[in-house]
Symmetry: D2
Subunit: 241 residues, 4 copies
């Protein structure tokens, strides 16, 4: 979610979790890198550490550190200066060694209450600074801000969206507008929450596994995800009888 | 699950995760402490670190380090000597400063193919060494081993079970046998796995959030779990206008 | 030193090192906590983590995050607003559970080029916010700024200094001025650097340990620092023959 | 030292420290990897993590986990089976991706009280398993065991020694015997200990920096080691005026 997570875990604690994820899968992982956890220098160190862990890319947003959640009402939403954030993007791109590593610049202009002109100016500055793609964020429940932006942007560089609030708009609609990438940012996590809550409730009420065992992943599925078979092959190879 | 986790994460990486859990809840947390990650000296350090993080207790098992999963077929299951493991339990109990911290001794005799006599001898030795409870483990799909053990044990000390394989036996049955605590060890995790897999599949197939949004925890529920309200109160208190 | 350390290690990595230190000694440890690594909320989490690790106190300074070193020429030195920093101090004091935990407010006014009036105004605000002591910092090679400040401060609250630049002034002088605590902040570290460099040079040149063995701590001294004797007692207690 | 360090820090905590070292220098770093912190599977993970952090190699020793220090009197010194340890070496070599990564097999036969024949058998087995070099360890105060071993070994594979106890023997002597690498394992650390103790004593007694300032590394030297100049160049590049 990125919700206040900067206030809880340190950036290296997040990198530690990413490392476990990266070790467990070959699917490319894009990190929500918040504001970069400080200035350009913190961004440089972040990029080095992400590349070492095999992370595929990072999304940086143009807010001030420490940031608040984009959907949080109570808090003020302050933006970084265009120059400062552009230099963060430049520092990130200058630092990466793997040419496939991706840096996405997230434009928070709409979130902070600014209009289309500001959003476009920022997006263009970040594109020039070297961003591989621009993420345009909106907290409206329709896609009007995204549509407007995409129209003016006119496919000049890859465009990314996170339709958490405007989830009712179809993916085909966004394809037609020229969006390159849709991030369904938190639904996997949110489905795990509701499922864990419901299993815990059932256990609490029924004190029985009878209604649970067949509705959850089997032990063998857990073993498969942990690559137990691979380990058993290795045991045959490296453990003397 | 405790499945080969000792082969993946180091014990301090597990403690780091426990610390996040402990910071997020007031529910007592019992750690599956494996074999204690080495000898008595590693156990001593583990106990200190768990108490610092507010963990309520640890369960240690009488296997050799590095251990394999109790339900794994391919691997040999070697047990620690009774003396050595009893001294680990003693070291743990001598180390704790909080009198409420709990050390449970997990008896793996049935898992390793030994019979009732061995299980009882070990349980009694661990009880005498100071264990607050004994966990008797079985991988049979019925509760015959547990029933036998409980009968002979005759309520002489708290008894704990993990009915992963014999999940069809009712909790009331175990109450009648004198079991003090039932650990449903992995069903919350396993429910999150199946739920995340199914949500990912739905996203992949439908490319739409329409069938998902109402079936997962809401964003506000995520905010609630992150104690956003508390943070907003604190912002009013500590952030000048 | 605190030199750009905020740009290198994350705050939790620093806490990890502090934990090793705390486990190795009963001497109270005061952390140089920089600006608190973010806003009041980061400070709250920092205090909780320090108390868990048995750290005796923290010194927070009224710069903006990410900060630069106080003795660094090239960089601008920006100060936090008095209100914002006072609220950080207040948040820290409200958070601590151990009444002996100490929060020191470091006033960077002189470093940032402001005069005595600004320094006094800030020190007084931080005192009122609950700071247990005020650290007044200066990068002059004489103690004139410290002397001026101490005179006006007139013993109204404990005063701390770090005489790195004005090292020629005697400790007795500061006693007479009413200074409560002198921090010799980096000389132990700096002595280890020169000593390690010189030993490495000697090894490189002479390819021999003959001139080294008697000039370095003995292996037995290392064992003593590692409390080997304690471990050997524990081995007798917990390792069966 | 490797003294009981396995009992204190977890292997990932050691890797964390190595990462800081690796980030600070271009000098190749050889890790004292103890027994590999478990079985072949723990070794595999260790090698992956070391390569990610840019560590140049690891030395593994043929003791049982958890090990005790080679110079410790009180403790029993148990050796791993030749087969099991050879398979650890093989697993390490099969795992590395960088062909320059080095795995050194440390033979503890002399330390454990076995003779030349056992040492040679083990060394040969580890060489065949793929070790890039063999480290032959001795706790005698003369080099008789090393000399004997080197003579029989007859340059068949790179040979490494750690002359902590037989420090009086000249490096030229070992060159003549065909030793490829001498590890002065702990003298840099031990010199830092004596120097820090002496500086602390001086501070305690004199309460003055006058006798210290000129005998320790200067602040500018600390800045140089922290590559402050590089950071200042980067600030010019990435921080807008």
């Amino acid at each position: 979610m990125g919700v206040r997570d900067n206030n809880e875990a340190s950036w290296t604690q997040i990198v530690d979790i990413l490392e476990f994820m990266s070790d467990a899968t070959s699917i490319p992982i894009l990190m929500d890198g918040d504001t970069g956890y400080g200035n350009f220098n913190n961004v440089i160190r972040l990029i080095k550490k992400l590349e070492q862990r095999g992370i595929a890319g990072v999304c940086l947003e143009d807010k001030l550190f420490p940031k608040t959640n984009s959907f949080s009402n109570g808090s003020r939403q302050q933006l970084a200066s265009i120059d400062e954030f552009s230099n963060k993007i430049k520092a990130a791109k200058d630092t990466q060694k793997d040419e496939n590593f991706v840096v996405i610049a997230r434009v928070e202009s709409f979130i902070a209450g600014f209009g289309l002109a500001e959003a476009l100016e920022r997006a263009e500055a970040y594109r020039k600074a070297g961003a591989d793609a621009v993420l345009i964020h909106s907290k409206k429940s329709d896609s009007s801000e995204i549509d407007e932006f995409a129209k003016e942007w006119a496919n000049r560089h890859p465009l990314v969206i996170v339709p958490t609030k405007y989830y009712k708009v179809s993916t085909q609609w966004f394809r037609n507008k020229g969006i390159s990438l849709v991030i369904w940012a938190n639904h996997i996590l949110r489905s795990s929450i509701s499922s864990m809550q419901s299993t815990a409730n059932e256990l609490y009420k029924s004190e029985s596994l009878l209604n649970i065992e067949d509705n959850v992943a089997s032990i063998n599925e857990v073993f498969r995800l942990q690559r137990n078979e691979e380990l058993e092959s290795l045991e045959k190879l490296y453990l003397p009888d």
